[in-house]
């Protein structure tokens, strides 16, 4: 479970995040929705501990991302935006590297890597070097390696960017599988339809603030718009500029 309590983050004069709070429970899919530059990535980067919030706190299964960052990272599988692979290593080696870094026992690594390769259906290209992989193949391998230590919380930053229909579909299946396994899945997107189709909870962010945090139906009701896209636009307008 992920809990965010009023985090702020500025880069120089730019106030990227201004008091974001939400909760992403286990066994549910939570979507972080917002236009480009709304503060989605910054929020997620605070959660997977590569950035420190200026103010506010965030917890991963109760572990504070600032004071217990190592413990928090142990409970997270993160796919940063535009995550890259090591081109001279095969997909399997890329995944196994992360498995070893996460402290999985050397004897168990092979089984674990095989399991994750099966789960993500990447066996066909698992033993090829990742140089020259398509965007879809790269994303799958990057997700695979972030799941290799079997984390309870999964954070995906715009995972469907640059994916074709088939790849998007299998990504959706994977996210649903993770939900069924009782995991906490938090992902960001700027595509309303994608979020609506998958998420139990939608947190719309604009200008570094939470505009609305509800289910898809709840959002329709509260904005008074039947069409989700209109609802999205309305919700964003509800947040005034800084």
């Amino acid at each position: 479970m992920i809990r965010v309590e009023g985090i702020h983050k500025s880069f120089g004069k730019v106030r990227a995040v201004r008091g974001v709070s939400f909760e992403a429970p286990d066994g549910k899919i939570t979507g972080l929705l917002g236009p480009n530059g709304a503060g989605k990535s910054t929020t997620l980067r605070v959660l997977y501990t590569v950035l420190q919030p200026d103010k506010g706190r965030a917890f991963i299964d109760g572990a504070d991302v600032v004071t217990q960052s190592l413990e928090a990272r142990r409970r997270i599988g993160a796919l940063p935006h535009g995550a890259g692979l090591y081109p001279h290593l095969t997909a399997r080696e890329n995944i196994a590297y992360y498995a070893r870094l996460c402290g999985i026992e050397p004897g168990a690594i092979e089984d674990r890597v095989d399991g994750i390769i099966r789960l993500l259906e990447i066996r066909d290209f698992a033993d090829r070097r990742t140089k020259g992989f398509s965007q879809g193949q790269r994303t799958k391998v990057a997700i695979a390696r972030s799941l290799v230590h079997d984390p309870q919380n999964i954070i995906l930053d715009e995972p469907s960017n640059g994916l074709d229909v088939m790849a998007t579909r299998s990504l959706r299946d994977l996210i649903l599988k993770l939900k069924d396994a009782g995991r906490c899945v938090l992902f960001s997107s700027h595509v309303m339809q994608e979020v609506a189709a998958l998420c139990d909870d939608i947190c719309i962010i604009a200008d570094g603030q939470v505009a609305i945090d509800d289910s898809a139906d709840g959002i329709r009701k509260r904005t008074g718009c039947d069409d989700l896209e209109d609802a999205f636009v309305r919700a964003i307008q509800m947040v005034g500029p800084a």
Partner: protein, 393 residues
């Protein structure tokens, strides 16, 4: 801690062994560049020095008919007189345009002055700013002086005086430099080539640690793993060190082979560079590996991109030459305080080794200690920088 470090280290080695660019710079460029340049320069200087003494040169001489004996004497010294420019004016023009290197002019009054026993005038026209021409002019002048000396002796004998009267002093040069010592002048550059090879070996790994990982987008997911950044950084620096050590070893090996096949004894040099010296040289340079890895990682961590890092690190490759150059120009002898300066201390110790002079244990200790200390300090700074948020760019 150790396991993570080892994991990072193993992955970096595997990754870079598969990268042709790293391999070429670590295993070929660095280690072979120095020895090849060396072999080329030494062969060139051997050829020059052998050639200059013996080669027959054609010397345009104006007015040969006025001094047939002199012309014959020059021939015996491998200087053949040939037809030159028509007159003195044409000769001056020919030399200044470079058509001829040296022209000798024997004026018509030469024979008369010679017969009268007064100093007979002879002109050597050369451009002294041209080193190739000057070398020839020196040979011609030397031959003329020798001829003049011989004639003087004959004239003195003819008057019943001992030619020894012309030699009030008998000057003997005693050269205390040993053949190993003479090698040191040329081989002094070797230490720089070795440091160059060492740095080249780890350059791409050092870039990869920060700028490379960032540009590829693999840094952020790596930092989101449940490992500390210190472990990641130290693993990467360790891998950089191993590649640098490998390059250094190969460079020493190729120097050993190159020196074995070079006709150094023809230049009067016998460098002390057998297997024990090679091994000792590796140990003397080894502390520089940590320093090199830390400096390169540090510099690369300030850059925004791979390309920018490459540019800056090329500068780092040249930095160790500076102290070596200054000391070489001032021809300073090893002193205690020099041992605190990395690259300089290794250079001086290496020169002593090649000269086959005993090393001062205190010097070796200070050199290794101060270089390692600085390397450790910079590694610590790298680790601090690896923890900042700006690392992600």
């Amino acid at each position: 801690m150790m396991r993570t470090l080892l994991t990072v280290f193993r992955k970096e080695v595997l990754d870079n062994v598969r990268d042709r660019r790293t391999l070429v710079s670590a295993l070929i460029m660095g280690p072979l560049f120095g020895p090849l340049l060396f072999a080329f320069m030494i062969n060139l200087s051997i050829e020059r020095s052998l050639e200059d003494a013996e080669r027959v040169i054609d010397l345009p001489v104006i007015g040969q008919q006025h001094a047939p004996n002199l012309v014959r004497y020059l021939e015996s010294r491998n200087i053949d007189a040939v037809e030159g420019p028509a007159d003195r004016g044409a000769a001056l023009a020919a030399v200044s345009t470079g058509a001829h290197d040296v022209v000798v002019v024997i004026p018509p009054e030469f024979a008369g002055q010679f017969a009268d026993g007064i100093p007979a005038r002879i002109e050597v026209i050369a451009d002294q700013s041209n080193s190739q021409a000057d070398r020839q002019a020196r040979r011609v002048r030397g031959a003329l002086h020798a001829y003049s000396g011989e004639l003087a002796s004959i004239r003195l004998s003819a008057r019943g005086l001992s030619p020894l009267a012309l030699r009030p002093l008998n000057i003997d040069d005693v050269d205390v430099s040993t053949p190993s010592g003479r090698s040191a002048i040329l081989l002094g550059m070797m230490s720089y080539f070795l440091i160059f090879a060492l740095l080249m070996g780890g350059m791409y790994l050092a870039i990869d640690t920060t700028a490379g990982e960032r540009e590829r987008g693999s840094l952020e997911p790596l930092l989101a793993l449940p490992v500390t950044r210190n472990q990641l950084l130290l693993g990467k620096i360790a891998a950089t060190c191993v590649f640098m050590a490998l390059s250094l070893g190969l460079a020493l090996g190729s120097f050993y082979v190159a020196l074995k096949f070079m006709p150094l004894d023809e230049l009067g040099m016998t460098p002390n560079f057998g297997p024990p010296t090679v091994a000792a040289a590796f140990l003397v340079l080894a502390p520089f590996i940590l320093l090199g890895a830390a400096v390169m990682t540090l510099v690369a961590s300030f850059t925004k991109s791979y390309r920018e890092a490459q540019t800056w690190l090329s500068g780092v490759l040249l930095a160790p030459t500076l102290p070596i150059l200054i000391v070489s120009i001032l021809t300073l002898r090893p002193r205690l305080e020099f041992m605190f300066v990395p690259s300089l201390s290794q250079h001086l110790l290496l020169v002593d080794m090649v000269k086959n002079e005993p090393l001062e244990p205190l010097h070796v200790a200070i050199s290794a200690g101060s270089t390692l200390l600085l390397g450790g300090l910079l590694t610590w700074v790298c680790a601090r920088l690896y923890r900042r948020e700006g690392l992600l760019g």
